[in-house]
Amino acid sequence: MKELIRTLTETFSPSGYEHAIRSTIRGMIEPFADEIKEDAMGNLIARKGERTKNGKRVMLAGHMDEIGLMASHIDEKGFIRFTGIGGINLQTLFGGRVKFINGVQGMIGGEPITDISHSLVINQLFIDVGADNEKDCPIKVGDVAAFERPFVDLGKRVMAKAMDDRVGCAVMVEALKRFKKSPHEIFFVFTTQEEVGLRGAGTSAFGIDPEIGISLDVTRTGDTPKAKKMAVTLGDGPAIKIKDGGMLADIRIVNWMIRVAEKNKIPFQREILEGGTTDAKAIQVSRSGVPAGCISIPCRYVHSPSEMVDIDDVENSTRLLSSLMEDPIEL
């Protein structure tokens, strides 16, 4: 599992530019899926199993994209001004390194801060790729970059960039590999452009027209010093989403997930997330509406270059997902 997470997190694929991660995941799942396709928005869709009399058409969604940066101007001296892709926390940028998808690396510098009472604005930051002037700069306006930060194995816990949501992708890849028997037709959808507005999930849900939708994504925790209160702790098991900033999970889905977790003795937590949402929101309101829920993997430091998860949570999320798919779904 750790090696899987390493491979997925060390791939560079900000929103809208998911080419690399799509081909990585496709290579991993090709032997296990019944059918694989890519849709107009670049979603990678793997179908597995047939829908039996007691089965349903189920859509699982984990997003392939990660937050990143996009060059907006190359100045005369070769410094790159940029804008964010997805929810970038400026405090985490200073001094960090980035890699453009053409392979060019650089560091994020800033203009001197003369008034510390003012909060940082993105216009004060720039990327230095070692260019002397605009002409020599190997980057042009619109080129995208992601954080450059290797995966680190801390034992029980692991940290990396883009754990949001490559760890969700890892859970889906692993569940597909372990797939035994299911009454359901299951669509494993690795979605695009989640970080900029759940865009890929909405269009793939329209195409699949599922009867049940479940997203696999990370959620915040309340267990770091002076953290905002939140009843989710790293290591206490997958978080079954009840509510977030964009969705009320279908209560029948919540109850079903809890029943299955209890039956299989899988630890779990009940999640209420203030702010933030997942692909499940877009699936829920697709077409005439879809009962939807989310299995969240607790994650510290979300949207920073070092996001941390507990490997037991990842394993238990995979077990929960596999268990959910084993039997007929009674809502």
Binding site: S15, G16, Y17, H19, A20, D39, A40, M41, G42, N43, M70, A71, S72, H73, D75, E76, R81, T83, I85, I101, N123, K140, V141, G142, Q193, V196, R199, G200, G202, T203, S204, F206, G207
Partner: protein, 355 residues
């Protein structure tokens, strides 16, 4: 860099009519009528959908034709009368993105008959220095039409009263966002590339949330979409002589190709095709700076199972104010680039790698 060719007298007249028309969001009939006047000799049919989008299809010739939607929005930012306070004084609301600092002292026109009026401002003689530093809130602004305008009712639209003018190599007028895009699509209908099926959507309610394009894209269900809009050029020198790195785009440097804005990523295959076409045909172009904002592509690309889209804009200074300014060369180069790109769309474009 600007090319020497210029707009025909007829083209300028159409842009003038479009710019002078009044079509705030939700009430786009005037612009719709001008488009129909201009295009009906060239088309066999059209449809006006339930929201008011004007939809025109032109089929191409040959096999494996790609279905391409082209969108430009008919509506403009403006005002809506909310209360008749008597003696020709009216309260109003804004419609679309309006900067209140722009309003005092501006001439406006109100209602179907374009009654002239003014958004009143207290003269400098009677204001204090402190007052002059503050933005006047909407609740303190009024449109003054003078007494006797009994036919003006709450709910009537209003917009800036500016008249279009050609100034040398430039065009000045209100609502160039997006009447320039509308003009481009009219020109294209008169001389459509034959290799593809074209689906023209003159959309409504873009300025209030990309609403018309959403339903137009759903009903057209195209393979891909090009959105033609006007994007602000903030390209004047900075006050302190520092390099301006937030210009968005620049006047006179050609069509502004989007790679990303706040509402969508342009499909990388379409960006590549457009850029390669510009280079091959020696048409000047620029990339619009990525960042916020959004065009109809924002709602088109997420319709149904997804519609790969791209935005290309004509640069315009002073957007959403009483008078915008655009270069004729940028209009011509946008038209040229759009035509050349559409002509070179390969039938297998959607099978290409999207990197």
């Amino acid at each position: 860099m600007a090319q020497t060719t210029s707009l025909s007298k007829k083209q300028i007249q159409i842009i003038e009519r479009l710019s002078n028309a009044m079509a705030i969001s939700g009430d786009e009939g005037e612009v719709r009528k001008i488009i129909l006047d201009e295009t009906s000799p060239y088309t066999s049919s059209h449809k006006i959908d339930s929201l008011g989008n004007l939809l025109i299809e032109i089929k191409g010739k040959g096999r494996n034709r790609v279905k391409v939607m082209l969108a430009a929005h008919m509506d403009e930012v403006g005002f809506m009368i909310s209360t008749d306070e008597g003696d020709g004084i009216y309260r109003f609301e804004t419609s679309g993105g309006i900067d209140l600092r722009q309003l005092p002292g501006k001439a406006v026109m109100v209602g179907k008959d374009h009654f002239p009026g003014v958004i009143g401002a207290r003269p400098i003689h009677l204001t204090s220095a402190k007052e002059r530093k503050e933005t006047i809130p909407l609740s303190s602004l009024r449109i003054d039409l003078g007494p006797g305008m009994k036919s003006i009712k709450p709910g009537d639209g209003a917009t800036f009263g500016t008249r279009f003018q050609q100034i040398g190599q430039s065009m000045m007028g209100k609502a160039l966002d997006d009447r320039l895009g509308v003009g481009i699509l009219i020109d294209l209908i008169k001389d459509p590339p034959p290799n593809i099926d074209l689906q023209f959507a003159f959309t409504v309610q873009e300025e209030t949330g990309l609403r018309g394009a959403r339903v137009a894209a759903f009903s057209f269900d195209p393979d891909l979409a090009f959105v033609i809009d006007s994007t602000p050029a903030n390209d004047l020198p900075t006050w302190d002589g520092e390099e301006n790195h937030n210009y968005n785009c620049r006047l006179g440097e050609g069509p502004a190709i989007y790679r990303a804005d706040g509402a969508s990523f342009s499909d990388p295959r379409l960006v590549r095709l457009t850029e390669e076409t510009a280079i091959k045909e020696k048409i000047p172009y620029q990339f619009r700076q990525p960042g916020g904002g959004g065009t109809d592509a924002g709602s088109i690309h997420t319709q149904r199972s997804g519609i790969p889209s791209i935005s290309i804009s004509i640069p315009g200074r002073y957007a959403h104010t009483a008078a915008g300014l655009a270069r004729i060369s940028d209009y011509l180069n946008t038209l040229k680039l759009l035509k050349a790109t559409l002509k070179s769309i390969p039938a297998n474009i959607l099978e290409q790698e999207r990197k």
